[in-house]
Amino acid sequence: MRERTFAPSRILIYLIVSLIAVAWLAPLAVVVLNSLRTNEEIAQGSMIGWPQHLAWSNYATAWSGFCVAETCAGIRPYMLNSALITIPATILSTLLGAVAGYAVSLWRFRGDNWIYGIVTLGIFLPQQMRLLPWTIVLRDTGLMNTLTGLVVIHTIQGLSFTTLFCRNYYVAIPHELIRAARIDGAGFFRIFWRIILPLSPPILVVTVIWQFTHIWNEFLYGVTFTTGQQQPVTAALIALSAAVADIPQHGVQSAAVIIAALPTLLIYLLGGRYFVRGLTAGAVK
């Protein structure tokens, strides 16, 4: 396993890995190519093809041109809405999950196993089932049609994942560390701030990636609990793809898909290394 010569076995490994990588990249390549082809060009050929000339205008239309009913501002305002929902909800659910995971793993208190078990079961509760109950909650709290409402929903639902990830990570921290700090007179928050948080970046990267992509890609709550001007980017994507009264706009649709996926793709590209590292350290137990 150590030598770096080009033995036949290593060539085989590279060959297999490259083949799978190509297969994995194919859907992305198709979307990227389509985003540079005109709608007419795609309609004449197939969905898979090389652009005859680069139709950059698809990106302009997708970014700020196409109409959702009377609003002709492209995907741009919806991107902003998604950011306004996703960023606060990601930060809140990650921080609260970290504190909760820290408390459950290192500060054992009465009922902790029970409440931890229930909270993590939330991972398995289907989305569709929660739609109506959330409607009632939003009505009773007056948060219907506010971005705050969506932030609250995603924070509370996200706690299931973030608590699970963080708890599994913190369980591995040596307890002597905490005990020593307590003898020095450090309290709950001080220990969290001084000892736990500096140890946390790998797992926080995992939870941030996880939460960010899930909330960014969410559609059902996003259209049900907002009004037209606050809808998330997924709603605009659906408006482009499910247009009943239009011929397919595959070119513009592909460009919009690329733009809408950029934030999450970037996060995975930048955080991918830490994702595996964080999982190594924590979530696999």
Partner: protein, 307 residues
Amino acid sequence: MTIAVSTRPGRPAAFDWVRRLPEYLTIWVPLLLSAAHLIAFTLWTIWISFTPSTLVPVSGWVGLRNYSAVAASRNWQIALDNLLLFGSAFVLLSLVTGLVLAILLDQRIRGENVLRSIFLYPLAVSFVVTGTVWSWLLNPGLGIQKLVHDLGWTSFRFDWLIDRDMAIWTIVIAAIWQSSGFAMALFLAGLRSVDADLIKAAQIDGAGPVRMYRRVILPTLWPITITVIVIQLQFAISTFDLVRALTNGGPGIATQLPALVVYDLMFQRSLLGRGAAAAVLMLLILLAVLLPYAAWRYVQRRRAIHA
């Protein structure tokens, strides 16, 4: 494993309680909110499943009528059959794909960062987009089959999407593409935390790479394998957006899945009571998956403590 820390002696209990109020609040408020919403929503759904609710929730009692109606419907029966096939095929294949990818990436190959990103990026994309793009690629009139035909090989057939027996496999393909990266990441994490001494010892014994994996490394991956299985099963059972965008349950009703039936009954057919009954049945299926896992975890922990 963890230490139970009692309050330190020598301070009046009341004062201590007040002093620690902020930490109690930060611990309990989020956890209680989360637990409360889960319990309340589940109880609410169970209650609705016994009511005659249609467009909106109403009170009333219809006994098990919603359950029998769901159980008797063709859609639900097909959905259950599909779940069995899709669930086992997807879990098994994504497990194998993830493991193979992880082992390959673990060979200290060049460009590991790039390759890992390539296998992980589908996780970043929404299911709706994945489903749509795969519906282009797999559609025989638009995608791969059309491309090959246009290149001259006109007898080539790849039409699973419109073949009611094979259509469920298109969902397997898309799901594997989307989520094997996660299995890979977990396995890679596991491979990286294998004890280096163990490997060295095996090397000294003269074990070749194949034997090394079979005898030394893979056995240590068992716990991770279980985690991957549970996570992927959970994914399989709640698969919804992907199917909706890829086949929408078709051709005909050949690719119905439980989550699709729940949504369809609750919101498209406006049969809230029946949809809730289907959701409860889905939860029971989930429990059937989770309980053995929980039991296994429990046994593991006991063993670890007594060892």
